[in-house]
Symmetry: C2
Subunit: 176 residues, 2 copies
DNA sequence: AGAACTCTATCTATCTATAGATAGATTGTC
DNA sequence: GACAATCTATCTATAGATAGATAGAGTTCT
C-alpha cells in the first residue's frame, strides 16, 4: 500500500463503486477498467479487497471529519445542520450515491470485525457531532429544547441514511 | 417455478440471506446447504437468481400487506403505529435482519428494472399506509396536527429503515 | 389389471465465466 | 544498479447455469 496518486485514484473509484453498487457487487476488473491499469497492479497497491476496503473507509472517514470541522465554522447551529444535510443531498445527486458506511452496513454481516469496528467508530462520530450541534442550537435559542439531544441526533442520522436508500427505491423520486 | 413446500422453503431461506447478508453475498450453494437439496434442484424451481429474487419480493410484499391489514384492526392510530414499529424491531432481533426492500435498495443500481419496480411499489405502499394512520391519529386527536402527513409518513419510514442499518453498524447497540 | 407412458422433483456431472490472487518479466526513474 | 510501478500470464476457487439420468407417483390405453 502507498499514498501515490494511483492508489488514491483506485480508492476514489472503489469508494464510488461501494457507494453506488455495494461492496460485493464490484470487482477488481471494474476498478481496472475505470482506473486504466491491470487488476494485478491494483493488487500491488492493495493486496486484498479487504485491504482496499479498509483504506477506503479510513480515507473517507478522515475526509468526512474534515467536512464536519468545516461545517462547525458556520455562525449558527442551524446553518451547520443545513451544511450537513446539504452534503448528503449533494452526494446522492452523484448517481444515487449513498453514504459509504451505510452501504457497508448493509453488507456488514459478511465483513470481518476489523472493518465493523472502523464503521462503528465512524457512526459514533456522526452522532456525537450532531448532538453537539443540537445542544449549541438549543443554547443559542434557534432550536427548541430537547429532552435527549443524543437520541435526537441519532434520529436525524437514521432519517438521513434511510432517506438515501429509500429515495433510490421510491417512485416518488424516480418515477417511470 | 411452483408453489410446493420446497419452493417455499427456498424462498424463506433466500429472504433471510438477502436480509442478513445482501443479494450479492449469498450463493446457490448457501441455499443448497441450508435447504438440503442440490443447487441444480434450486434451478429447477427458480431458473435464475433473479427469478428467485422476484419470487421472494412478491412473497414478502404480500405477507407485509397482510400484516398492515392486521395492524389496521387496532383500536387507535397510536396502537397501529406501535404494532408497525414493533414488527421492525422484532425482525431486527432475528440476526440483525433488515427490511428486504432496503437490503435490495442498497444493491439496486445493479438490479434489473423489473425488480426495481417491484421495490418501488412496496415502498410506496408503506408510505401510503403510514400517511393514512397519521391522518386517522390527527382526527382522533391522539397525534398533533401535521402540515403534510405524507411527508411525515416518509420521515417515519426513513427513520425506521435507517435505524436498522445504523443499529447494525453502531457500537451503541453492539458494543465490543 | 397391467403395460406403457408422462410428469415432478431430484440427482450427478459438467460447463463457462469470473472472482480474487500470485509469480515473474519489463519498464522507467533516480 | 536499485527500486517502484506496471505488465503478461496464469492459478485456484467459486459463481450461476445446464445436460442428461433416475426414481417414483399418477395417468392412459388396451
Amino acid at each position: 500500500m502507498n499514498n501515490g496518486s494511483t492508489a488514491l485514484k483506485i480508492m476514489e473509484v472503489a469508494s464510488e463503486l461501494i457507494q453506488t453498487h455495494g461492496f460485493h457487487a464490484f470487482s477488481y476488473r471494474d476498478l481496472s477498467d475505470r482506473v486504466g491499469i491491470k487488476t494485478s497492479s491494483i493488487h500491488y497497491h492493495f493486496p486484498t479487497k479487504l485491504d482496499l476496503a479498509k483504506a477506503v473507509i479510513h480515507h473517507y472517514h478522515q475526509a468526512f471529519l474534515d467536512k464536519l470541522d468545516e461545517f462547525s465554522k458556520e455562525e449558527t447551529a442551524k446553518k451547520m445542520l443545513q451544511a450537513y444535510t446539504d452534503l448528503f443531498a449533494e452526494t446522492f445527486r452523484q448517481g444515487k450515491r449513498i453514504c459509504l458506511c451505510v452501504s457497508l452496513a448493509s453488507d456488514l454481516n459478511g465483513l470481518p470485525e476489523e472493518i465493523r469496528n472502523e464503521i462503528s467508530i465512524f457512526v459514533d462520530a456522526h452522532e456525537i457531532w450532531l448532538a453537539s450541534v443540537l445542544k449549541q442550537g438549543i443554547d443559542e435559542g434557534g432550536f427548541r429544547k430537547l429532552e435527549n439531544p443524543r437520541q435526537a441526533a441519532r434520529n436525524i442520522f437514521y432519517a438521513m441514511e434511510g432517506a438515501m436508500l429509500v429515495a433510490r427505491a421510491s417512485s416518488v423520486f424516480f418515477p417511470n
